[in-house]
Symmetry: C2
Subunit: 421 residues, 2 copies
C-alpha cells in the first residue's frame, strides 16, 4: 500500500468515525505510525444526518475531510480503502487497494442498519446511516411531493405523502419532528396546488415509550412534543412486512405508504476474517482494555465493540460518547506501552442524553437533573454545534440554524440526484 515502514510500531485503525478520530488524535507525537483506513475521505457527524435528510443542511456541514483534520500530524497516514478481510495470523489487512501489515489493529467501523433478517424491508425501506443515504432520503421526500401533484386518485396521493418512521430512538424522533416542521412551515408554500394537510407522519416503536433509553419523564415529554407537532406515534407496535406500498403490522391494521424509513436497529459492522465467534450481540466482545477477547493484537472501539460493565450488562450504549471515550482511553494505553507503563482499565462516564423534537422542543437527561423545552433545545444545539469538527462547519451550521429559526425555513430543498428504488 506504499506506506513507508519505520522502526516504530504501526497501528492500523479501520474507520474514521468518532472513536477512530480520537484514537488517532490521542497518538499525535507518539512514537508510533498510525494508518487510518476508511471507505470515505471524510468523517461523518452522524447525529445530524437527519438534518441533511430533511433539507436543513448540506453534507459539508456535518462531514469533514479526514486529511484536513490530520494535516499537521506527521505520524498519520490515510488511505481511502474498503477492507475485505483481516488476516490475523499474518497481522495484515487486505483491502481493495492492497495489503497492509499491522502491529496493532483497531476496528472502529461503527454500525450499520439492522433489518433483523427481513429481506422485504431491506429492499424497500430507506436507511439513514450515512451521507449518501441521507441525501437519497432527501431526494425521495421531495420527489414524492412532485409525484403527489400528478397522482390520479386521492389514495395514491396520500400514500405518497405518508412517511412512516420505524424506531423511536433519537434518530427516529428527531427525523419525525423535522418532517412535521416541514409539513407545517415549508411544504404548504412550496406546493400551493397540493393539499399538504393530507401529509401524514407515523412513528412506530416496539417499546411502550419513545426514546426508551431516556428517563420516563423525558420520554413522556418527547411524546407530547411529537403529538403537538402532529406526528402519529404507535407504541408497542412492530412491522411485519413491507412491499413498497403497504406496511403490515403484527398487531394493527395495514398502512399505505410509499416511504418507510428504518431507524429501528443497528448492528456492528464486522470485518471479514474476524467473525461471529468473537462476538456477543453482533458486536466484538472486548475486555476492559478494548482488546477483542481471544485475540492478541486486535482491538475494537465504539459501536462495533461489545463491552459489558456492571451498570450495562448488555453492553455500553451505541452512542458517540462511548466511542469518543474509548478512542481517547485506548490512545492513552498505547502511549503507556510506548513508555513502558501499565495499561489502565476503561470506564465509561455517562454525560447524559438528549434529543430534540423541533423548535424550542427538546429533552435532556443529566445525571442529577432533567429538563425540557426551550432551554433544553438551546443546550442541544450548543452541544451539537461545539461537537462539530472544525470552525467552518460550526459556522455554516450555526448560520443555517439561525436562518431556519427566524425564517421557519429549511433551505436545501434540492433534488441533486434523483433517488430510484
Amino acid at each position: 500500500m506504499n506506506i513507508p515502514t519505520t522502526n516504530y510500531p504501526r497501528i492500523v485503525i479501520i474507520g474514521g468515525g468518532f472513536g477512530g478520530l480520537q484514537l488517532a488524535k490521542g497518538l499525535a507525537k507518539s512514537k508510533c505510525q498510525i494508518v487510518m483506513l476508511d471507505q470515505n475521505n471524510y468523517h461523518t457527524f452522524q447525529p445530524l444526518l437527519y438534518q441533511v435528510a430533511s433539507a436543513g443542511l448540506e453534507p459539508d456541514s456535518i462531514a469533514y475531510p479526514i486529511r484536513k483534520i490530520f494535516k499537521n500530524q506527521a505520524n498519520f497516514f490515510f488511505r481511502m480503502a474498503e477492507v475485505n478481510k483481516v488476516n490475523k495470523d499474518e497481522r495484515k489487512v487486505i483491502t481493495n487497494i492492497g495489503e497492509i501489515n499491522y502491529d496493532y489493529l483497531v476496528i472502529a467501523t461503527g454500525s450499520d442498519t439492522n433489518y433483523f433478517g427481513m429481506k422485504d424491508i431491506a429492499k424497500y425501506a430507506m436507511p439513514m446511516k450515512n451521507v449518501k443515504e441521507a441525501l437519497n432520503l432527501r431526494s425521495l421526500l421531495l420527489q414524492n411531493f412532485e409525484r403527489a401533484l400528478l397522482a390520479e386518485n386521492i389514495e395514491e396521493q396520500e400514500s405518497l405523502m405518508t412517511f412512516v418512521i420505524v424506531g423511536a430512538g433519537p434518530t427516529g424522533v428527531e427525523l419525525a419532528g423535522a418532517l412535521a416542521e416541514l409539513k407545517k412551515h415549508v411544504l404548504p408554500f412550496d406546493y400551493p396546488d397540493l393539499d399538504v394537510r393530507r401529509m401524514r407522519i407515523h412513528l412506530i416503536e416496539m417499546a411502550d415509550e419513545v426514546l426508551p433509553p431516556m428517563s420516563e419523564e423525558s420520554s413522556k415529554n418527547a411524546l407530547k412534543y411529537l403529538e403537538d407537532l402532529g406526528v402519529t406515534v404507535w407504541l408497542g407496535q412492530s412491522v411485519a412486512s413491507y412491499d413498497g406500498k403497504t406496511i403490515k403490522f403484527k398487531k394493527a391494521e395495514d398502512l399505505k405508504a410509499h416511504t418507510l424509513i428504518w431507524a429501528a436497529g443497528v448492528k456492528g459492522q464486522l470485518v471479514g476474517g474476524i467473525g461471529e465467534e468473537f462476538c456477543e450481540r453482533g458486536r466484538y466482545k472486548v475486555n476492559e482494555f478494548n482488546k477483542i477477547e481471544g485475540l492478541e493484537r486486535e482491538y475494537a472501539i465504539g459501536d462495533v465493540a461489545f463491552q459489558a460493565t456492571e451498570e450495562n450488562p448488555i453492553g455500553l450504549p451505541g452512542v458517540a460518547q462511548v466511542a469518543i471515550q474509548q478512542g481517547r482511553h485506548l490512545a492513552k494505553n498505547f502511549k503507556a506501552t510506548l513508555n513502558n507503563k501499565e495499561w489502565t482499565k476503561f470506564s465509561y462516564k455517562d454525560l447524559g442524553t438528549m434529543a430534540t423534537v423541533g423548535r424550542n422542543k427538546a429533552v435532556v437527561d443529566l445525571k442529577h437533573t432533567k429538563f425540557k423545552g426551550w432551554f433544553a433545545w438551546v443546550i442541544w444545539m450548543f452541544i451539537h454545534l461545539i461537537s462539530l469538527v472544525g470552525f467552518r462547519n460550526k459556522m455554516i451550521t450555526f448560520f443555517n440554524w439561525s436562518y431556519n429559526y427566524f425564517n421557519f425555513d429549511k433551505g436545501v430543498r434540492l433534488i441533486i440526484r434523483k433517488y430510484e428504488r
Copy 2:
C-alpha cells in the same frame, strides 16, 4: 398534467435558468397563467459551478429551489418534468409526466456541452454544465489524488495529477485558476506523502489568446495571472483525440492525463418537435421580439436563442445577461398584449464582462474602462454575490469565500459519491 385551466392565456416556460426566472417573475400579478417545466427542482447559478467542482462551495450555495422563488406568486405553477417533444400544431408540450397545452411557449432551455461530434471526447472528457457534473468532477479530482498515492510508477502518478482543461473562456480560466490554488494552498498539506509539485494544470485554447471575447489587454493580463499561478497555457492549439489516457493534438506532442475537462463549446438545448430547420448555428433563430422565425406562438430566450444584431451578426453572446434581459423584456411584451398595447423590440445592453483567475487576480472590461487586480477581484465577488438568488445563498457563499480567503483553504473536499467513468 393536473394544472387547473383558467380563462387567462397559459404561458409554458421550458427551463428555470436565468431567462425563464426573469420572465416568470416579470409576469407576476399579470392576467396569465405561467407553467414552468424543468428537469430539476432548482435554479442553477452556472457562473459559480466551477467552485462546486473545485471544492469551494456546496450545491446549496449556487442552487435555489424554484418553488421557493415563486412561493408567493399565485399565477405560477411548477412541474419537474423532462420534455420529450413539442407538438406545435396542437400547441402542446409532451413530457415524461404527461401533456400540457399552451397558448404561448417559451423555450429557455439554455445550452449543453458541445463536443463537435468527437465521440471519444464525449465518452472520456468531463463536462461541467450542471450541478451533477460539477460534483462528479470534484469527486474525480479527489479520487485521482487518492489513486496517485497508490500509483506503481511515476508516469502513472503524474498522469493522475495532470488536469487538462480545453477552452479558455471564463469557465476554463476560472477552473484552471481554482485548481492552481488547490495545488498551492491545499493539496500539499492534504497529501504530505505525495509530491504535489508534480501536479500539472494545462489550459488549451484554439484562439491565440485566453478569454477571446474580452479586450486584448484583459486577455493578456489573465494570461499573465494564469502563468503566475503555474498553469501551462497552450494557445492556438486544439485537441484531436482522447482515449482516457493520452491527449493527441493537431499541432503538438501528446500529453498523458487521466483527466480532460471540456469547456470548449456549447450548443443550444433544442427540444423535440422544433428542429434544425428553425435554427442558425445550432440555436433557435428568433426575431427582435424573441419569437422563433417561422412560428406563431413559440418563443426562445437565452442561450438557446440565436438573435443577430448589427453589433453581433453571429448572435448575441451566450451569457447570463442576455438571458436575463431577454426574459425581462419578453415579460413586458406579454404584458403589453394583455393590456392591448404594442410590443417593443429587444435591444441588448452590454454591461461588461469579467473573469477571475484567483485570489486578488481578476479582469474586468466595462464599456469605457477596464481594470484588473485586487479591485477587479472584489468587484467580481460583489457582482456574483448580489446576483445569487436569496439571502441564505448569498450569506453562505460570502462566509465560504471569507473563510477561504483568510485560511487559504477550500473546505468541501468531500467525495460523497464516487465518480466511475
